[in-house]
Every structure is written in C-alpha cells, then in structure tokens.
Symmetry: C2
Subunit: 373 residues, 2 copies
Amino acid sequence: MQIHTVPTPAALIEIDKLRDNCDQMLEHVHALGSRLRPHMKTLKSIEAARLAVDPRHGGIAVATLNEARHFFEGGFKDICCAVCLAPEKFEMAARLAEAGAQLSFFVDSVALAKAVVALGARLSLWIEIDCGEHRTGVEADDPALLEIAGVLREGGQTLMGVATHAGHSYACRSIEDIRSVAERERLLAVRAANRLRGGGFSIPHVSVGSTPTTVHAVCADGVTEFRAGVYMAGDLVQSVLGSLDLNRVAFSVLASIISMQRERHQIVVDAGGLALSKDRGTMATAHDYGYGLVTDLGGQAAFGDLIIADVHQEHGEIRNVPTHVFDQMEIGGKVRILPNHVCMTAAMYDRLHVVNTATQSVVDIWQKTNGWS
Amino acid sequence: MQIHTVPTPAALIEIDKLRDNCDQMLEHVHALGSRLRPHMKTLKSIEAARLAVDPRHGGIAVATLNEARHFFEGGFKDICCAVCLAPEKFEMAARLAEAGAQLSFFVDSVALAKAVVALGARLSLWIEIDCGEHRTGVEADDPALLEIAGVLREGGQTLMGVATHAGHSYACRSIEDIRSVAERERLLAVRAANRLRGGGFSIPHVSVGSTPTTVHAVCADGVTEFRAGVYMAGDLVQSVLGSLDLNRVAFSVLASIISMQRERHQIVVDAGGLALSKDRGTMATAHDYGYGLVTDLGGQAAFGDLIIADVHQEHGEIRNVPTHVFDQMEIGGKVRILPNHVCMTAAMYDRLHVVNTATQSVVDIWQKTNGWS
C-alpha cells in the first residue's frame, strides 16, 4: 500500500526514523552510564514501546492509568504512571498491581500520601520533586519531603524513589540553557534523594527527564533512569529546541488538498484543528511554524517554509502560497504535515500508519490507545 | 449516579441547558421565517441531534464523512457534509447515497466539480461561497461560480444550492459587528444564488450560518436554512462574543485535584491539554480565560475568575489561587471547567455524561463518534 492511498487525514510514522531515534537515545543514555524508561504517552503504541524499551531496564512510563492498563495487557510489567493520581484512581492502580503489574505513580503532598495509605493496599510510589517547572512536585528542600516519605513508610507503602521532570526546558532558547536546566534537574533530584537517605529512607531509584534535558544531559551521576518520550517521533518544537534535526522527525499527518483559490494564493487541506491539534508550541520560538510545516508526499520540505497558517475544525489553511508552489499542487493531491507537538497530534488518532522511509509504502498499521477509560 | 463519582477527566452535558439552547435557537430561526440545519460536528451525538433537529426541516450538517455515516446509521437522512471533500472521499459519499442517505457536500472549484463528475455517480452538491472568511468558497461575483454550476449540470449532478459560513464573525468584538457580518453573509449568499438563477440554474436552497451570525441575524430574506452547532452546548468564546450567557453553557469537563502547593498558590487538576484541548480562543478577546474557567461541582463560577492558566498533556495548572479559594479545595476534590471552544474539547471524549442541572446527577451516558474512519 502506497502512502497516497491512505484515507486522509491519517497519522504516519516512519519506522526507520523511529528506530534510529530510539537507538540513538539508548546509546546516549548508556554512554552516560544510566538507563532509559521511555515515556509512552507520545505514541501510546505497544509496537513503538517494544522499539523504545531499554533492554537494560525493561520499564516504561505512561501518563494515565488507561495507558498503564493498555501496556500491561501488551506485555509490559514495570510501568511508572508519571503523574500524581487522583485518589479515586488508587483502586484501579491496586487492581493492576494485584494482576501482576509493577505499577508505580507519583505523590507530591502529605495529603495525597495519606490518601494512598487510607486505601489499605500496598502500592509503589515516587515522591515527585519540583526542579523548576513549578507544575507539580515538592521542592527538594521542603520539610514535606521527609514527611511524605514518613507517611508512606508508616503506611507500609513501597517507596520507589524520587522523580522529577524539567518541563521548563521547553522554554530554553539555547543548548547551553538546556544543559544548565538538565544539570539542575539532576542535582535537585539527587539532593532530594540524599536528604531522604539522610533521614533513614531507602531510595533505590532517582528518575529524571524530559526530551530536551535527556538529549543534552552531560552527566548522570546519581541518576538511575531518564524518562523521555517525544524523542522517538520528534516534532517541530524539538527541532527548534535542538533536540533533533528536522529530517529525523518520524511523525507526520497525511492530508488531501480540498480547495485551491489562486487569487487568494491559498490552499486548504482536510487536516484542521482536530487532525493537527491546536498546539502552537513554536509560536514564541525563533521559528514559528503556525500549526505545522507542509512537506511533500515523501516528507521532504520541498515547498520551503510552507506552513499551516490557520486551522478550523476540519480545515487547515496554507496562505501566501508562492505561484511556483501553487502550480505544483492539485485538488486531491496529498501533502504531509509535521506537527508542532507530536504528543498532542498523535492523540487524535486511533492508529498509526507505519511507513518505510525509503519506499514510502505502508508496511504496517499499529493500534494505539487514547482517552482515560 | 452523582457527578462526583464519575471518573475524571470526563465530559459533562447539562441536559436542561442543552434542551433550552436548542429550543431557543429554533424559536429564533422560525421567527425569522427560516429553518435550522443543526451542525453536529460539535457534540457528534445522535441523542443531541434529536434534540437539535428542526421539525420543519429534518436535516443536519456534519464536518466529516465519518460523522455522516454515524448519523445516517442513527436514523438521519438529510445530511449535509458542510466541507469540500477530497476526491478520494466521493466513493464513500456515493455509497451512503445509494444506501438511502440524502447526502450532500460542498464544492468550491471547477477542478473539484470535474472530479465529482468524473466519478460517474449522481451526487448532491452545494457551491460554497466565500462571504469574507477567506477559508474556502468562491466569491459571489467570481465567474467560476457559473462555471462550476455548468460542470455539475453537464455531468448530471444535483445542485442543492449555495452555502456559506461567516466564520470571521468570531473575530467580531461587538454585537453590531456580528449583525453586520450576518447581513453580509446573507446578502452574498443570496447574490450568488441570484446570479446562478440568472444563468438558468435552479437554486432551491440557500444555506448560511455560524453560531454568532445565526444568533444575531435580524433578517433571513432569501435564506432557506441556517447552519450552526456550537450554540447547543455553548462555550467561553460564545459567551465573550455575546452569543449566549455564561450560565447557559451546557458543556464542561469534570476534573480532580491532584496537587496543591500552598507556597506556590497553585492547584493542579487531572485535565490538561488533551482533556481540555489547546484551543486558546479567548486569548485575543476582552476576557482571556486561559484554557478554561474553573467552576464548582455544581457548575457555578463560585471561585470568581479562576482559570486554567497552563496545560501539559495530563495536567491543568491553576495559578495565583487566592487563600480563601485554596482553603475550599482538597486533594481529590472535583471541579468543572468550562472550555474555550466546545467543538475541540468535546472531540477528546468518546461519550458524554448527561447531567440534570437541578439534581446534579448523571441521568444518561451518550456515545459519540470521533475521528475520520
């Protein structure tokens, strides 16, 4: 099956690029002397997880309990649900653990730790540390850190260790800045782990990561695992940040041209706000790609800096199309669109069309999970 | 089942408000002497369509052929797929028509009209007119208008009429501006229809609409139907635009509090960029609601102007939480979030939890369709 016969809009993943991205990340993390726990919230596909998983580790990270169940049913055991779960979710977590999953999740408050203990089941927890993103997590120096660990120990829970996520690396505008955020991510996680150890707690694992800070980490001292996900597929934000080159982006959206208005220098495709997501992650960067970069059917940026300037629910608008580009297009013709933020875009699709980069043929279709239950 | 027992994140629809919004719109359009073709791309639910459909019309609009099939299987016959379809979709359209659907869709170019004719099946088409949004559609005065009609007639196709959508009404900042866009939407559609009639074509239907222009239309002369969808559920954008009051918004996302960091004056819920969508429709308006307005479990804006300031994939961040509000919240507590743009947010859910406004209990669960195939 050739790409141009796939009904649009569709999510394509180039298997060769995906494999290379996975292999390069493993090599990098191993060279640092650490291990990788790939985050599967990006592609939510069991086949992708098999390519990404670190043979020296075996575990994965996910962002919802629905994903945890999906990957457990797909054969994965060591699953870290890398978020603070609402107490209503604890029972489902306990059921997965009873069924044989080594399921763990985050807590970042005494109240949440007490809610875990109140359930009466034995669960596995990470204390989440805030290393500067200020989203969730306690500060490494917060007295609550030892209090949380105490509540969990008293309650007979398993403390996996500490975990942090330098999501603020996305705001960096240079590799040097990312390196500095990465180093601070590591230092604060290690400091929190050492404070807990000093308090008499056993902290076997120290987990850090985001794609930019993992790619640019130069030191992993004290870090037992990196968590990252976007690197597998790549996207425009990662390309702008310097996490990977544009030609290593493995994910794209296939779209059909449905309207061409020459006087308005305008082309419209059938991939809009739902097919691309409304993520505008490159907006505040040095290279604003609108809602995505338009490439040819082979995934090459053959049209220069042609972007999706605006989206409606099922329409993507390409504006100011140069005449020589307009003349290469036709109604019903296909383009591929690289997304700003692959996690948001991939989530709009139930399946991935797996493409061989060299032959541009569809070699497989991978089912994904989505949603929350 | 009470709302607080629904697993989060979840999509709630208040049945009483939905019904009132539907009834009020029907009354309004009938008072104008016209009819309504409700657009089901917003809720994608058969039950919602049954409440919204105009007994004087019977038809609906949709935005994808997947939706068309879903509603046809749900008992709807007259289905207008209100987009220019890619030629690869014509066969599926023809199959639906053969199965008994009165399926129609848009064309806005001679090339697309020729592609329709080339299929060899008899399809039903609307010529799409651009009334100022400059997305798709030909100008009312464009010579191509008669050319497209000629190609369709020559090819034995059924010309339903002309259709236009004043999507640029969303950029209006006053009711007066919306009225003026609405009047221009009507005038240009009627002008295109009359040009075609003058050219010897029969134009039985003239279809216009967007929620703002339909709500504020004061004249329907020459208009045989209005198409609108968002009005059923409502959202923050429509509230800011003056299409409906905030207390008539029927859709919200139920979320759980998963993190509270008092020193950072911050609360985090388990509804993030996927559960809310990354639509920032109110950003450039007089009232920027971030990624959504946080209300209490009863849907009341009890916390003042508390908004989701930032989202990550599965996290929604409420920042600068006043102490008296912080003190009302607890880990595991529930809030409801009104979305910027309900079409984008509802599309993230496979089902709607139907809520009785007075008792705040879940009275039904409606399945939805999503995706493209």
